[in-house]
Symmetry: C2
Subunit: 401 residues, 2 copies
């Protein structure tokens, strides 16, 4: 890609973020009456449900704070972020200290889950908000909650188990979410624990989940990293593994283009592009079986919005870090597929769920799992890495002159 193309891509992502994606959600979703956000919305923005999904409450507060941290102060963004942070702290923790997964508009708990993703998203929300606002208590809370996540991650018996100990497994979700949480924490308010832990999680991913012999990133494995020859154990999530790839490329960039991490991130992307890209219809398939056997989950061949966000980031980052034109091509393929099929030119934002053939399966823009996160994060992150790249190019050119 030449400088002109990179510049126009940078401007495209910024414009989409600020003039299409964010205006779909804000300010109308900020619930000034009860706190937090009203995010479960149909294609035209009408409210489907006034319940609040705790993951998405945290993610939305992160998004608003990150806008401030990137583009400068804006009252609506900052006050909106505070509205979410306050709601999380007032209503989203159960009396036992664990966070809820799903609460009512007023903040009464409906459901907890046997995971701690509510907590990880609360960490990044508090950290980004602390940076945006300078609020030291939010920074404290981010660090405290990160400590709690570390406890959950290293001591699985703290939460009720879904499975017996008959077939112990490792899931890639744990090192991945923790790595990204630590990266966010480090790069907003700083935390001395992060670097060592990030290195540990990357080693865990490389050692146990990345299979060079079969060119694959596993979603779960036995404790020793071997493939569990049952339906669940064979199930791959290409979009998720590709998200892991760009977390690692991000780390490579943070470490001054560490060549080993560039190689690791790129091969994870390569392996899962080969397995996830739908050669017949385009787009990233949701689940695949490592040996192409049938998958249990019913929506296995649907196209969801978020794997496309992750793949747009991963291919662009891989291209900018390696200059390999293959990644520029892949980036264009997934970018074009996604903005042609998911983007809603009438009301803004993206639809979430397509059939395999690219036709629309349903119209929700927000629900228990979709909200202002993957798409704005993609547009923000791509804008940022392109802008950094172009600024550096510019400086280099200036020196050359």
């Amino acid at each position: 890609m030449n400088i002109q193309r990179l510049t126009s891509l940078r401007d495209f992502y910024k414009k989409q973020l600020l003039e299409d994606t964010i205006p779909f959600w804000f300010p109308r979703s900020i619930d000034w009456e009860y706190g937090g956000y009203l995010l479960m919305r149909d294609q035209d923005g009408s409210l489907i449900d006034d319940d609040k999904a705790v993951w998405i409450q945290g993610r939305a507060a992160w998004t608003l704070s990150t806008l401030v941290n990137t583009f400068g102060k804006n009252e609506m963004w900052l006050n909106g972020a505070k509205n979410g942070i306050d709601f999380l702290n007032k209503h989203c923790f159960d009396t036992d200290g664990q966070m809820f997964f799903h609460v009512t508009r007023q903040g009464e708990g409906i459901r907890k889950r046997r995971y701690y993703f509510s907590e990880t998203f609360a960490v990044i929300a508090h950290a980004a908000y602390a940076k945006a606002s300078g609020d030291e208590s939010a920074a404290q809370k981010a660090r405290e909650l990160f400590g709690k996540c570390l406890q959950y991650a290293t001591n699985p018996t703290l939460l009720p188990a879904k499975f017996t100990n008959t077939r112990p497994t490792r899931a890639i979700g744990v090192p991945m979410i923790m790595m990204n949480t630590a990266q966010q924490l480090r790069e907003t308010i700083g935390d001395e624990r992060c670097d060592v832990w990030i290195e540990t999680w990357i080693q865990e991913i490389e050692q146990y989940f990345v299979k060079d012999d079969i060119r694959c990133v596993m979603e779960s494995v036995a404790l020793d990293g071997s493939i569990i020859e049952h339906i669940d154990g064979r199930t791959l999530n290409p979009g998720h593994a590709i998200e892991g790839a760009w977390f690692i490329l991000h780390e490579a960039r943070y470490r001054n283009n560490d060549p080993h991490l560039i190689e690791l991130g790129c091969k994870m992307l390569d392996y899962m592009w080969e397995r996830g890209w739908d050669k017949e219809h385009g787009g990233i398939l949701y689940f695949r079986d490592v040996y192409d056997k049938p998958v249990q989950e019913y929506w296995q061949d649907m196209k969801f919005w978020w794997p496309h966000n992750e793949t747009i980031i991963a291919t662009l980052l891989a291209y900018l870090m390696t200059g390999n034109e293959k990644y520029a091509q892949w980036h264009q393929m997934v970018h074009n597929y996604a903005y042609q099929h998911f983007h809603d030119p009438i009301n803004g934002e993206w639809f979430g769920y397509l059939h395999r053939d690219g036709s629309l399966a349903q119209t929700a823009k927000g629900n228990l799992f979709k909200g202002p996160f993957h798409l704005p994060r993609q547009e923000w992150y791509c804008y940022k890495i392109l802008n950094d790249f172009l600024e550096k190019e510019n400086k280099t050119s200036a020196v050359d002159f």
Copy 2:
């Protein structure tokens, strides 16, 4: 439908059951080495996974026993049924008395769930096997387990809760599964508790879930029967409600064609045919929103095999009990759709999962949730009610002579 058509339908279902569906599964799925059945199979019958789903272990033992009870003694069926019953008793109960949901081939527990469907399917398996074999200990076990299900059904605090008490709900699944379990128990080995309980559950369904004003059967409601205006509360499962309709029509038939129950069952079928039948592509849609808003579950517009089994039964039973030609037409529509789209003429049995447009989504014939149950039950039940109807017609004609 004339007698000729009804006779040919009866013969079709019997032939499909005994020459197409059952031979796909048995004898090859009977695990003589470790007990139980190996049922997770791809389209050609090859094994995907040797784990055992406890629901399906019970259902398969019920199916084999029911074949004996319907078509007479057959060593493979009877020994196969015993193999499943023994595996359930030896391996599928945890030390706390609750049944597992998922075990290994050898019978080690992998997962329990916060439901008691493993138990209800174990009841019908033991009851049908007790009738087939004359084994009094199996009859005892069926009655004992039914008592346990009654405790779970009337005292939800016995199992861990998935939700808090913020928004208490009733789910139609409880009275439905319990009604059918009681019907099976009553009609195989007899149990004095059944009639009263069945009446209670029918009243619960009629009072709380059937909404004449909006022509709808709800899947879940508030304790007072009002509609819960949130995504989950609005979600309808037409195939499930239609299954409930035929359980009630079955009861009407048991009670000498009780006119009130015929009316109730038929209107449940009417309401949910209107909401579930896909006028564009044919087939029964999986989930619908009561107000046509987006549904949370991703596979909401897919076509699954089992709602078609339930609708084939319900429309045929409604036709035979009322003579209303509308039901004969619906029966033909759903029968033709299903046998054209789900049936695998090459390897036998049905595929489980189609896209909305009727194209195949994946090839599994058996997995954690699909096995030898809904399809053989449909073919068996339709054969039986047609055979009973034709025998009665025959007698009436003989008297007329």
